[in-house]
């Protein structure tokens, strides 16, 4: 292929604008500190860099461990085609979480401190170790794609030899990490609004991360099929949709029991921001759950995709509610992210899309569709994809 000047498309322009804003925000962060680049305060020390970049980044990567467990530990081979994209998403997700942390930490140069200065009583200590170890595991799980690409058979054999313990360790680390992000907020019983504060927050975080991971798998398969002109593995994605419906049902059921046992349904009669945000979050969870039980919905790519997007949004709403909005009243303050916080967050997301697309293009991430023919007009579709 001869090098050519990249075509200017709407998405590429948006991407460039986001990255430019992110670069300027990064300058502000470095030059003027957190005070000059965020709207954080002594009363509100965590913003969207924690609530979105870290908490959502980690859980949207949950497809990685969920599919590893399904395919390799439960040995359900039919899900194999979506395993690698899920691992790649997870690896990128975790790498970008570390990038997010570099922005958010007051002293990013001391990111390594928890590895040598221990406090096992701290949830954040557990989180730090999980991020470090699981990013390493994901890197090792991602390596086979690199080795295959370059035809390095010996290292490929080495990786295969340790793959089973590696996968078990990965699933365990994810379990600990996903739940520990919920445990983080157990320390603020008087600050977090009662619709969200519950002693079972770690359990809810864990289950909802599995749902988000499955939804992300559908989401990225849909996008990559459009971006690369691949055939959509529809029957496979439909069956993931069915699993997603079950996981969401279990989640909503536990959520309902929790609210009912804590006698907080009365709060829903109050006309407060929290009530509406809670209803939004639950609504975005209930609607796709009900829809996904219909096989007609699951077999229609657009509807299946819409359901997955709703689950992802419901999940993001939940993490933002727990991590930011639900804490506002209890902290006695208001927090609206500064433009630079949003710019950094968008840049990280955009970079994630771009790197995913790059790797998926040059490395064997997606398996060749075996029987279904690739859709025609692939080039035309390329222009409308979310990735650049």
């Amino acid at each position: 292929m001869s090098p050519r000047f990249p075509k200017i498309t709407v998405w590429r322009v948006i991407f460039a604008l986001i990255m430019a804003a992110g670069a300027y925000a990064t300058y502000l962060r470095i030059r003027y500190g957190l005070g000059g680049s965020t709207n954080l305060s002594d009363q509100f020390p965590w913003g969207i860099w924690i609530g979105f970049d870290v908490m959502c980044g980690v859980a949207l990567a949950a497809g990685g461990f969920t599919l590893v467990a399904i395919v390799h530990i439960f040995n359900i081979e039919k899900y194999h085609p979506v395993l690698r994209p899920a691992i790649l998403t997870a690896f990128l997700g975790y790498s970008l979480v570390v990038v997010g942390l570099l922005f958010d930490l007051g002293r990013p140069d001391r990111l390594w401190h928890p590895l040598v200065m221990w406090n096992p009583h701290s949830v954040m200590f557990e989180v730090a170790w999980c991020v470090t170890l699981y990013t390493t595991v994901l890197f090792l799980e991602f390596l086979p794609m690199v080795f295959e690409r370059f035809g390095w058979h010996r290292p490929l054999d080495w990786i295969h030899r340790i793959s089973v313990p590696l996968m078990i360790v990965g699933v365990l680390l994810s379990t600990l990490h996903q739940s520990s992000l919920g445990t983080l907020f157990l320390i603020v019983p008087e600050k977090l609004y009662p619709l969200w504060y519950t002693p079972i927050l770690p359990l809810l975080f864990y289950i909802s991360s599995i749902a988000a991971g499955l939804a992300m798998t559908i989401f990225e398969s849909w996008h990559s099929s459009r971006a690369f002109g691949r055939a959509l593995e529809l029957p496979l994605l439909a069956s993931i949709g069915r699993v997603l419906a079950v996981v969401m049902s279990v989640y909503l059921w536990i959520r309902f029991l929790d609210l009912s046992h804590r006698h907080v349904f009365g709060l829903l009669t109050q006309n407060r921001v929290e009530t509406w945000l809670f209803l939004l979050e639950i609504g975005l969870a209930v609607v796709p759950t009900v829809l996904l039980y219909q096989s007609a919905v699951r077999m229609r790519p657009g509807a299946l995709y819409a359901c997955a997007v709703m689950v992802v949004f419901s999940f993001i709403a939940n993490r933002l509610n727990v991590g930011t909005t639900g804490l506002e009243a209890g902290s006695g303050t208001h927090y609206i992210p500064k433009w630079s916080e949003v710019a950094v967050t968008l840049s990280i997301v955009a970079a994630g899309f771009a790197i995913f697309r790059f790797i998926a293009h040059y490395f064997p991430v997606f398996e060749e569709p075996s029987h279904e023919p690739a859709p025609a007009k692939a080039d035309e579709r390329q222009a409308e994809t979310v990735a650049v």
Partner: protein, 247 residues
Amino acid sequence: MANAILYDSTLCIGCKACEGACAERWGLPYDDKIAAEGKISAHKLTAVETHGDRFSRRLCMNCQQPACASVCPVGALQKTSLGPVVYDADKCMGCRYCMQACPFQVPSYEWDKQLPKMRKCNLCYERELQGKVTACTEACPVGATAFGERNAMISEARKRLAEKPDAYYQKIYGITEVGGTSVFYISAVPFEQIGLRTNVPQEALPETTWRVLELVPDIVSTGTVLLGGIWWITNRRAEVARKEGRR
């Protein structure tokens, strides 16, 4: 032996001598503008608040079981046997979990610095090591802030409540709040009227996360066996199926 502060809101005249002494002890600037700031911050570690015609002084409560020290991933915060919760800025990575976890919203951050630190009162730990009282206690002209052995401070507070039952709201703030603190408040009115948080839990906060954290070994050991077992069974089943298929 642990020390504590007893702050008597009925005696406080709002002169802010404690603020000046505190700024001096930390080497922080203090002028009329800073004196007018009614809340604690990274450059003002204690602040006298005005609530109508009453005063209330805010400072780190140096809790008996501090949430901040329990959540610090690098152990930069430590509860000392003398009472103070001390901070080692050289360890701090700036995650600000201490600020999020503190039920009194005490820890403050140097938001505008490139290499920021957290700041809070540490009950003049260095002075205590030399057997001195805190700088604020020394500066207080009317004895509104008293300093001494924790139990002695509780007895002193009880004595004052008993001697002038009409002058005091008959409770001491800091004995049961979040499992006990090293700063006690007594006041003429219920504590929420002088700006204290009365909705804080009556149990020590570190327990809330420890209940889950202590399950980590259980999850790891049970999980390893469970996942390994499932893998072995499913893998074996596939192997057998392959062999039988071949025959």
